[in-house]
Structures are given as C-alpha cells and as structure tokens.
Symmetry: C2
Subunit: 377 residues, 2 copies
Amino acid sequence: MKTQTQYFEIVARAAGTKARVGRLKTPHGVIDTPVFAPVGTQGSVKTLLSQDLEKLDIQLILGNTYHLYLRPGLEVIQKVGGLHRFMSWDRAILTDSGGYQVFSMEQLRRITEEGVEFRSHLDGSLHFLSPEKATEIQLALGSDIIMCFDECPPYPCTEDHARRALEMTCRWAKRCQTAFQSTEDGRLLYGITQGSIFPELRKESTQQLLDLDFPGYALGGLSLGEPHPLTMEMVALSTDLLPEDKPRYLMGVGTPEDLWEGVEQGIDQFDCVLPTRNGRNGQLFTSVGKINIKNAPYREDLSPPDPHCDCDLCSRYSRAYLHHLFRSGELSALRLASLHNVAFLIKLMRKIRQSITNGTFLADKQKFLETYRSQGD
Amino acid sequence: MKTQTQYFEIVARAAGTKARVGRLKTPHGVIDTPVFAPVGTQGSVKTLLSQDLEKLDIQLILGNTYHLYLRPGLEVIQKVGGLHRFMSWDRAILTDSGGYQVFSMEQLRRITEEGVEFRSHLDGSLHFLSPEKATEIQLALGSDIIMCFDECPPYPCTEDHARRALEMTCRWAKRCQTAFQSTEDGRLLYGITQGSIFPELRKESTQQLLDLDFPGYALGGLSLGEPHPLTMEMVALSTDLLPEDKPRYLMGVGTPEDLWEGVEQGIDQFDCVLPTRNGRNGQLFTSVGKINIKNAPYREDLSPPDPHCDCDLCSRYSRAYLHHLFRSGELSALRLASLHNVAFLIKLMRKIRQSITNGTFLADKQKFLETYRSQGD
C-alpha cells in the first residue's frame, strides 16, 4: 500500500486513522514526516543557533518572507548567496508567502486584484506584494518549500468575505504557479486552501486548488482563535479530499495535543512559534504536563525541568536554577527554555512517527495525552 | 628559578619583565595563569551556558556574593549543594566579597567598624555584611577562591578617605582570616590591597596585608575611571612588593591591552564584565581591532567577524548576519557576540602564556598591540 511520487513517499500508516509516516525529498535533504518546523522569522529561530538546531537533528525550519524581505532585504541575502548561507543552515527551509503578515496589518495595506500594497512596520516605507513578487522573493531566498501568496481572512469573518478570499487565493495560486514554473530543481510550491470555518467553502477551496495540481497542500487560515473542535473539523474534511500521495501542511499549529490530533487526521507538516514564544515566557512543555517555571513552587525544586528529557537544559540544570535565571532576568533563561521546548516537540514528532511505524499510534496518543493533561501547573 | 608553594607553582618567566606563567591548584582543578575569568554575576555568565564555557576550556569564573546572597539566597544555594552544583559548573569559582557592590550604593548603606548595613537593590529589604558574614557566605557558596571583605573607596577620593579605607580594609582582613581559618580544604582566601591612586598608601596597604600572610593578593580599587598610566603605576609598585611565590589578582580589568600590560607587571589573574557587556552592545574584540558590528559598513560584509577566530560565531557566520541579528533585535546576537568576546580573551591569555614560555613575550605583545590599535572601527 505504498504511495510514492518523485519527492514524497509514504512508508507507514496507522490503522484506523489517516496518520502516515513519509519521506519528503528537498534540495536540502530528506524530511521525515510528520514533521514539526520551528520558526526562524528573521533568519534565526529565536535564541537558538543553527548549531543548536543541528544538534537536535532538525530537518526543516520556517522563514518569514515578509520579515526577511524588509530586513535585511533581498539585496543582502542574494549577495550572500541565499538564506541557507546567510544563516549557515544547510538543511531544508520552508518560507511562507508573506500573505498572512500583510493581511494582518489592517490599517497599513490596500488590496487589489493585482496584489497588496502595504507599509513596512519598521519604517513606514511603501511596498507591494503580489503572487509573482512573493514567489520571486522566495525563489531568491532559496527556500526548498515555497508557499503560494494567499488571502488569509481573519477569524471571525463573514461567509461572503471567506468566499471572496478563497476565490482570490485560487486566482493568485495560478499566478504563483506561472511565476514558479521557470525553475525545476526539486523545490516545491504548495497551494494554500482557505475557507475559514465554513465546511462547504473549505471543500470548495480545496477542490479549486486540487484542479491546479500542486506538489503539496497547506491548510491556511486556521488556528486563528476559532474553537478547537472547529479547527479539527476543517482539518478532517480537508485531508479527506486531499490526495494520498502529496504532503499536507497545517500552518501555525503546534501544541503537543494538536500535533497528535493533526497527525491522526493525516497532516504531514506543522510549524509554530509556540515552543520559542512560550519558552521566552517561562512556559515549558514537559512529559509531565505544562509548567511555568517562573512560578514560586519551582524556587527550590531540585529536579530537572522535565524528568524524561535529555536536552541541554534537562540533562544539567534544575528547575530551581532555571527559575532563578528567569527571576534574575538572565538571557540564558530564554535560550534554555526555548531550546527545551523545541527539543520537546522534535522528540514528540519522532515518537509519533515511531508509534505509527510500530502500530501503536492510538494507544500512544491516549497515553501521552492522559499524562500531559492530568499533570503540570 | 622555580617558585613553588603547596598550591601555586611558577613554571616560566619572561626575561626583562615581571611576567610569569604559573599553575594554581584549587579544589576544582588547576588554573593555568595568567588567567582571565569571565564574570557570572548571578550564577550565569550572561547569555552563556556552562556548556559554552567548558567548550572554551575555561578554568575559572567569577560569581558575585552580593547578588547571589540576595537572589536566589543562601538557603536555595545550600539546599542545592553549593554554587557549583547550582550552575552545573565543576571547575573553579572565585567570588568577590560583596564589598565593592555595597560601597557603590552610596545612598543605601551605612558603614560602621562592625560592617555595612545596606538595602537590597531588588526589594529595599535591610541587610548587613561584615567580614565574618561575607566570608561565611562565600564558604557556603563553595567558592574556591574567596576574597576578603574590603572597603573600596570610589575614584576620585581624598587621601584621607583612602587612608581610612585601607586601614579598615586591613582590620577587616584580619577578621576574614579568623572567620576563614576553620576550614582547610584547599580553598584560598585572598587579601585585597587598597590605597586608591596614592603610591605611598598603596605600598602601605600592601605591606599591612603582607604581614597577615595571605595565600594570594588582589589589587582592589583600581580601574574605576582613573587615568590608565596611574592604574599601571599602582600595579607596578604593588607587584614589586608582593611575594614571588603567591598569585596576584588585578580585579575588574579586562581590555586586551590591559591584559598584556598587567601580565608584564606580574599579574596572574584578571576578571571583567567587558567581554559580555561589550558583546551585548555589539562591540567585538577582534584580531584586527575593535569593531561595532551594528555599524552600517558591516551590513553587507560577508567576511567572518574575526578572520583569525574559530569560535562558534566566526567559524560559521558572517559580519552581515551578526549585523542583521543585532539590527533585528534577535537575542542570538547578544549570545554570539558575548561568546566571541569571551573566546577572544581566553585565547589571548593562552597566547600570552605561550609567549612567556617561548621567550617571545615582549615581541608578541608589541606585535599584537600594533595590529589591534591600528585597525578596527
């Protein structure tokens, strides 16, 4: 029951679910899926170095087109020879299209059929992103997985708004495809489905993009604050429609619970700022639940932050020490907590892949969630 | 012409200077001198982990008694089993006595013969440090090299103030000795000389402390803003008086120039916040001079920050990348720059020791300073 394209191969499935283990080939190495990609918005996964990411055997990170386009700018990155060389990272990079960012800036942008005119959040300067421009920038960055420039409506939005956005997204997806087609070097252009939380619209958006035959599909416009069951309903109906032999990417999702559930629904890729953002706030994912290390009970707690973790934090330092670093405003606190959270999700994905291969996915999922939810702060 | 005590051995000297290479034994390993110790004020060398320091083969770091006493407090550190275990560091630690900090807080402290009453800069709570208390805290922290509680007058100060301070320092040094003597486990208690920039007073202070026969001597109250030639004059007359067979420690000193000059005058130990503080400001020590990486010319500079450095920054990243991280407010910038600066000084000390052993100290010093001063920003 193997499914295989030139670049994506499914090597195991979990019976009774849509979960699968795959291998996704990119110009910068093979990615074992399902995969979680930490976010390096400005060419750096916050507080971490490429050395740290390599040590965790991370195969894919995300870069933000909007941020990198504004600073340092394409000129600098092209001069250096691309984003990989700029940040000294020779594994795979996925870039978003900038669509999410420019659509978020409601006061600072003007949308036309041609694209989006917006003002830089850095200096107010005027810029223009279009499907062609967003594709061109991502090609220049040298990313391995390139995203179509989409219209991402906010949550909540009206059905009418959601419909207009998904139709624009489809017209723009065609233009991205045209802009992308000139290069054929193993890089992949993904289509992004929209439709907010309206089941019929999400199906329609998915169908429209299927007709364009992309090598991979992303689910956009979710995890924007809508109720969790709705998110998962949209995921389920989307993966029911998406082809088996192509990777599916759920954008912006990354709690441990969501990763298990997303995988169960047949998702192959995730990204989220959560591990680093939570880390900087002292929130740790641990095998015994979520804790905030800044809380008073940890002041004299001599145990490791996560008793079942071997990361650079947990293998050497106590909760008391990390608590002290946070309370004292030491920058190493942010680094250690970020590192641990990224390590936690990376190891969680490894465990998830293993559970699929071993035929124990549903049991392992249940076991994990029971422990994770019943303990912690 | 070997000089040797139970804990300190001089293994090489530079002809025509007072420079010497030695080996200083502590309960947490041997320290090759002359040595530069990075400062870990709050139990962390800012932005760096113990892992980073080990990778640089650092043999000695400094902890601040004042800060650690206030936060996390002795109770926590004793519960953990001392500062070494708290911060997961099994090499040597030197602690200051807290004297410098409490004397700096002119508005918040009251000095008597007994000691200094002061208010915490954290919460305004009232505390008392005395020679006995400062020694007791350092013993409880578990530090390998313990400093006497001294009165450190500001610069400038009157000759009368300087005289009173050095006399108090001597009386307190005796009390520290008494408080310390109960333990004899290889830990070392250093006396601190004062006298501001008055040659006769510094000689007098040095002589007074020599009479007490400490295992090591620190030069206190220097590098507080006085003209550089005056600093070096005080250092020279002090090391002329200090015994050959005991280590000499110049507190708070750490520019590359000062390290060469201090060693030439027979100094064996240094500490300074400069590499990490400068690093956080984007100031880099490099073999081609001092540069501020935030400056515009580095925006597109593809060369490594220091072309002759193999640290985790210079071996992988360009000036353009570090510039970008600083300009983008990425915390990794502070870490990379701090790491490089500490690595630079550690390698500089290695080079200095080598030059003494090789008999090329003066020539190497001149060569270094010519390059260092003529280039950079």
